[in-house]
Amino acid sequence: MGPSSRLLICDDCDTVYRLPVLGRGEVARCARCGVVLARHHRLGLDALTALVLAALVLFIQGNIWPVVTLALNGQQNSTTLWGMILIMWHDDAQVISVITAVTLFFFPLFNLLTLGWLLLFGRQGRLAPAFRPLMLAMHYFGPWTMSEVFVLGVLVAMVKAKAYFEVFPDAGIYSYAALTLFITLFAGIDLRRLWDLVPSRRA
């Protein structure tokens, strides 16, 4: 273990710091560019595991239950997230169908499952099988999950439809709204904290 193991380099400007020790609620910011370097870890790995499992349940509910129902002259029509993805595919908007499937279904699901898997082992201080490839994948998929944008999109669509139809929010959208809160909670988590589980060795 070299002397560099206790150092931290700012991702946004390359300034080198000694790893700070943070108290409750403290945040370390880069003195050159102002980016957040580190936060105090309020939640332990156990609490995180619980949050991820809860988020996974919400995600499943949000996907199997319809999100909104419209009614017109006694006719009713509702959709789930996948209903929306499939209809975009059949309506000659395959590009949109793929973007939607990836940003609202595959990446969020992958991230939740992976985080759960890594934490399940991590809370026992162990490295999960396939730790490295999974961590790399999460790093690259991270910016492409958009569940929170979807919730706002549902709200906008409901208001637009309200002028012509009766609009009923369904269970799915409540699950999604709750999921968004959970995702915001662990958006603040530094994935790099999990890398610290890897025993260091000399390069």
């Binding site: 380099i9 400007c13 975009m88 590009v95 958009m146 999109g153 669509a157 890398w195 890897v198 060795r201």
Partner: protein
């Protein structure tokens, strides 16, 4: 040496993926000892990639705004909507708050991203010292808000799936929404390929 030493001055390098600090390797393409990712001082060809993606995004942004994104049909009455007409419609239907949100996500955010990346790129080319902390903040802002532009795409997809009452009423997506979705993807790729460290690299050669 300044009070805030930078990695290269100390002969160090930080891994872009896992954050591990290593001694700067002597040979190219050395991997991080913890996660195995290739250690690079700066993102590869950051400037040319960002320019290319930004220009591509701007090209698809034009049809995204000019072409209609969605068609609503009810009893033979057909109405095509563009991004802007959707906002106007919300405003006129007494949903001003929501109109402002959609206007911000669909029009202000993409424009802001184009302008911000343009400013960031030009300043790096000129090795400008101008407003470095503000430029760093601008970059963080566009990283943070970038994906909210996808809002209108999801709205069109949802309305298409929901409004299916045969001849009574139906909604179908039009090509504008595809171009708009591509604009969002391309601007996100552009801001991901920009290396914010370049903003502070005034005295050193790039790449």
């Amino acid at each position: 040496m300044t009070a805030l030493p930078r990695a290269h001055q100390l002969g160090l390098i930080g891994c872009a993926v896992c954050g591990l600090v290593s001694r700067a390797p002597q040979f190219a393409d050395a991997g991080c000892s913890r996660c195995g990712s290739v250690l690079r001082r700066r993102k590869t060809a950051s400037l040319s990639r960002t320019w290319a993606l930004l220009i591509a995004a701007f090209i698809v942004y034009i049809p995204a705004n000019v072409l209609p994104i969605m068609r609503t049909a009810s009893l033979g009455d057909v109405d095509d909507n563009t991004i802007l007409s959707g906002v106007v419609e919300l405003w006129n239907k007494d949903s001003q708050g929501l109109a402002v949100i959609v206007f911000s996500a669909s029009i202000v955010v993409p424009m802001l991203k184009f302008l911000a990346l343009l400013v960031l790129l030009i300043c790096v080319h000129r090795r400008s010292h101008w407003a470095q902390p503000q430029r760093a903040m601008l970059y963080r802002l566009i990283e943070f808000i970038g994906h909210w532009s996808m809002l209108d795409v999801f709205v069109v997809a949802l309305l298409t799936a929901l409004v299916r009452f045969n001849v009574l009423s139906s909604v179908e997506p039009l090509p504008g929404v595809i171009f708009f979705g591509l604009t969002v993807v391309l601007t996100m790729c552009a801001s991901l390929s920009f290396d914010p460290r370049l903003t502070w690299d005034d005295e050193e050669p790039h790449e």
